[in-house]
Subunit: 354 residues, 5 copies
């Protein structure tokens, strides 16, 4: 279960001007990748320091700067100085426990979301914070560690066709967010399949392991929700911004992204309710089964109780018990037991207790 | 239980410009039907390719183009090119896991809803996505497979009377949506009848099969809600659009449609609460019945316990037990058992435990 | 329990221009009553056809036309033609499963509510749809069957005093709605008294019949809510209309009516919560009582178990049991039973289990 | 438990022009008190009729008219005529089942709230309706019966110092409402203390009387909420009125009053949730305790069951039972019992069932 | 558990002009500290009376006046007179049961929040009311007792660097609130860690102490929520104020503070739901365990019941019992017991009850 908070104590009382990295360091060194492109041109550069990479920067291009590794606050500060990023934005970038949000500044729009993907190697969900700073002709992404969900986007950039090469940094930002939300949906879909697979179990063979599964999926859905639900709010804010950075033709895509986010949110709500119903059903059916057992056993015991009393009565040592003298007393006694037992079984059957 | 998601992985990272069909292919080949009409004229054309059908297109008519089968993305793309439909709309049309929505574009309004109907052959609910593109003098419907709920509408078109032949494509769109919502209401009504039929069962003979029924209806209602609830939101947006495509005289019909949608939503809410109450009642009454049985049996056992002890006492082999010497010791013992039993029955009756 | 839906299948796919009556026919023939009045004049006319009644219509009067019986769609259509009523309004009038609503049209305001009253003959709630069409100098009411709650209003009209004779059709409309809501409050009040009467039962003698009562009242409240809750929304819309038909001096009465509606809604909410609490209390107290019984009986059994073992031990047939040789062995045994029993009773008392 | 409704049937169908008192008559005769004051002058007058009191009315004073007793509709009507009060307001005044509300009329603001106070004699909450009519230079209060919470206000008026003597009728109105809300808070605080006193009980000795207490407090809180919650809404409306009667300098006090009302509402919400949690805790802990007892007793019985079987086996009368011949057979038997008992105790201890 | 109310009775009916301290007196004497600073200058003064401290006040400085101890209403009144603070604000300052809020007055903004911190000495949460009065060039803080969370802020002031020395009283106010919310997050984070630590307990060894922990954390979270939730509302109001006192460059920080507050609120909501789920899981798993025990023991008893009857039958004293005559009757009997026992065990195993 992921922790919902990062270590706030470290920054307590510090000025927002000082950059303090909170979170676990996930890479050894910072990696900087730059893709510059326009309709007719594309160039990729990579390096370890900002200066090294930026010296290749060209005019009349869209620049996508991708920075992996947040622990090196000097690099982050250098990016901040170069692109005139507000100290609060920088603080958000390195504070990896940030709530997903979109903020508009004079020169850029800052976006913070969780980037989630299914690691194919171990089948686990990997989640990290992604911060985007989107300026007029540049877009910077800040990632916690190597590996992201953006390879298809890079492929489309390199392919030299499609809208992405003709459009500006705003469309690139939309494409990245769209890819992130597509991955959210894939995760929700996968969890949803697992949740729906519980339904038949509930009818056939609901045991404690079903209960564990339901609880595990609840926790997993809960984890997804804490990331995706505020991201949806952020996307809604984003699609309503009135900023010069976003061109009118991009707005229609943001509206579509907003729908995608709403769909993700509703799907989670749907599965949440389904899990709740499954838990109810599980509780009801396991109570039912126990009750059936208890009822059977109680009725079973009740039948034997009078028989035992009869045996007890004929086990007393009174001097004069008429039945003892009968030649077939013992068989009379066995018959009596049988009659009483059958009588009680009929009684309980009539009452529908058996 | 229907799946709530279509396969997102297939489109992950793809540009919205590329059309990729997700969903199961439900027909072998695409069928295109065209109805052209105005107040004095009506003509129906059908064919397998768009070009074949459109060559019959006439001026000064309302054109209703009905395309069945979404897997052939070439045909969809051709329709998109012919009618200048935005790539995002085309993507929505072929992505059959789309959330119901209404979107306004410059030249048309796009509407996506689920079309649901009761298949008379097997009594099951068939649900498919219906996309409507509503332009100034044309309306295009995209269906997943043959068979729809629109035959009455076609009948009214052919009947050469009524408002529908005099009005524009906006009124045709309203009529189609009205028909779809009428079908929603029929499905809700049918489910509602089944739910209301549970009420008397709860009083007379609530068994596990009642519990199964309640759960089945909950799932079915849940399935209806995931389609109808967002459709209501879409209709509300639709009735508030300020578009040139919708003529003022049609607005009053959209308001009526909005009321119908609200009614559908409230009815589902009503049945949802009814099911919840039924589940509570079922739980309470089945617990009650079990408790009654357990109480009876426990009291029953408790009465026999002292009797058994008495039998045990007179079964001991002590040398000098005064009662054994009595001539009528055995009958005294039987009487004692009777007195104790009656005493306890009176005690439990007084306590209202029997 | 009333059905929450009328038969939609009948109108499926029909044009709103065709009037189709859905609902059960509740009267044999249509009755039309007309009251015309102004400050100095009042005249009542009744008849079976519209033409017959309307030929008496006078100028400079407020006309209240009351039509009982909705199955005769010809009469409804005639009224519609005479007063230029939109086909959607006519459809609402004869569709008796209509959701309560208020709609403004160019020439009139249409209002649909449920009229509920307590039938004094059988103590049951009778509910029917009432549609009001309120024009500048006329008001038409459409009822499903004879008998309504408006006799006091007719009395006030005839009394030739008070505001109602001086004011217009808007004030008449307000008065009718006020009377309907007064009846709602009477029904809620009556149900509320029954619900409050459960409280003392819960303390003294909560049995299964209390449980039945609570469930019955829940269903009844639920039934009231499905009619009154949307009616409140309709009244709120009504009190906010900016229509020429409503004179400024009437608005203050509509505001008051709105308060009445809110009060009705809150009262239902209050009773709903009270019923929920009562159900909780019932569940808790009946579980409590069962638990008390089970605990007592289990402790009771537990006391006898060691005593029975002792009796069993001295019932064995071993050759050499020292105690058997004692002269007062039997009494020693009885004493032992007593000591063990008292010891266990003390133990359980200390544990507060008895 | 107070009734939530007054008798609506009495006014059903009556014109708002007729004043009909609903509610129980709580005083024998009407009492009218008048306090007239300005910065330099104060005079108190009391009497039984309006004319008698009003003949002392002076100019250039704020007049506070306090009328106790609502059953005498003639006096109310006289006040209405004198101060030009709308018939709907008069109806609200004498209808003591009125929902708290604030309404603005041309010449005055009408306020209806519940006045609640703790009767020191019997420790019970006394609740009555208080209606305030606040005009430009007068304020009229209508009470159901003698005794109110306003003595401190009267004291401050007589004290000839402080803002109240300098300010207008709007400030007097604020002061009265502030006093009423102060009394609400005192009642909530007192109930809150009782509720918080339950917490330790839940840990130490939660018995049925704790359950009763929780239910009693729930009902009491519920009763407070039905009065205070709508009063908060009324105060919010009041603090947003744009009326000439309220001077700008008073608005800041109304904002403060609004905060007080919000605080009262939140406090009730807090206690409501606390009670809910307490009920959950009570349920869980009493179930826990019962379970502990049942478990102990079941284990206790289970230990004796095999022992009894052994005793039974050696109680059989077979001719050749080898153990019977043993010299120390009986002691061997007793030892066997001990070994089995100890074995089972160890088994249950290992399973953590004991 | 902290009390949610302060003693309102003390102020009942008093004029807002009179200052009455409610709350417990937490310090012996009032302490006043003043920090004056601008970009180039800083001076700290401390004293016991206002006059003593204020005589050092300099022009062209930001003055931060920190008053510790609220019981001395004379000092509070003197501050009020000196800085022209409204009597309602003064009342809020000394009423330590005040709901967190932000209010704008002509000359200043007043802010009331709870200041919470973890006392390192005893690991307990200390909570006190902090009132801030923020004027154009001054800021006054009112604390209940010595010790606060502002030492890092004082350190940054003294450090003569960073934005805080260059900015105005609005930025100082933001910094103080930011520090307070940072402390909220630290408290939530610490509680969150404890709550998350319960998860593994629920799987391994959920006992009554787990139940106590969950309840304790619920109460603690509840306590935090009553302080932090209204504080969030206050911060939202604050970030939306349009006041001259707040400079435009500070607004971006207030927006950030607003995000922080939202994050705190959502985190509490997340943990609240987690606790609720934990309680459900605990209930389900402890019921499960008890059920397992009960089922085992009931089955165990059921196996012995027929065996005991057999022993009882052969313990009867009938004269002619054929089996008694058999040479190996006893062994036949023991074998019979074994067969019956094994048969029942197989039966229960098949039924999956064992």
């Amino acid at each position: 279960m992921a922790r919902f908070f990062k270590n706030r104590s470290a920054v307590q009382g510090k000025s927002p001007d000082e950059l303090i990295f909170i979170g676990r360091q996930k890479v050894d060194s910072v990696k900087i990748r730059m893709i510059q492109y326009n309709e007719s041109f594309i160039e990729e550069t990579a390096g370890d320091t900002l200066a090294e990479v930026l010296k290749n920067r060209k005019e009349e291009c869209i620049t996508w700067l991708d920075i992996t590794g947040l622990h090196d606050t000097k690099t982050i500060a250098a990016v901040g100085a170069e692109f005139k990023i507000h100290s609060l934005t920088l603080e958000d970038i390195i504070n990896t426990g940030q709530r997903p949000k979109v903020e508009e500044f004079d020169q850029y729009i800052s976006i913070v979301v969780k980037m989630m993907r299914l690691e194919s190697s171990d089948g686990k969900i990997h989640s990290e914070q992604l911060a985007i700073v989107m300026g007029n002709d540049y877009l910077i992404t800040f990632q916690e560690r190597p590996g992201d969900v953006f390879d298809p986007v890079r492929g489309r950039l390199r392919a030299m066709k499609g809208r992405i090469r003709r459009a500006g940094s705003d469309y690139l930002g939309y494409t990245l967010l769209d890819t992130i939300f597509d991955n959210y949906l894939i995760l929700i879909e996968r969890l949803g399949e697992q949740i729906e697979a519980i339904e038949p179990m509930l009818i056939d063979h609901a045991g404690p392991e079903t209960f564990s599964l339901i609880n595990e999926y609840r926790r997993e859905l809960h984890f997804l929700r804490t990331a995706i639900h505020p991201a949806r709010d952020a996307i809604r804010d984003f699609s309503r911004l009135e900023s010069d950075i976003i061109s009118p033709s991009t707005f229609i895509f943001l509206r579509d992204l907003n729908d995608l986010a709403t769909q993700a949110d509703e799907a989670m709500e749907t599965y949440r309710e389904m899990l709740k119903n499954q838990l109810d059903s599980y509780g009801a059916s396991s109570a039912n089964r126990l009750n059936e057992i208890m009822k059977f056993l109680t009725v079973f015991s009740a039948i034997f109780i009078p028989l035992s009393l009869l045996a007890g009565i004929y086990g007393t040592n009174f001097a004069h018990v008429p039945e003892f003298q009968l030649r077939y007393g013992y068989f009379f006694f066995l018959g009596l037991l049988g009659i009483v037992a059958i009588g009680m079984i009929i009684f309980f059957k009539r009452k529908k207790w058996l």
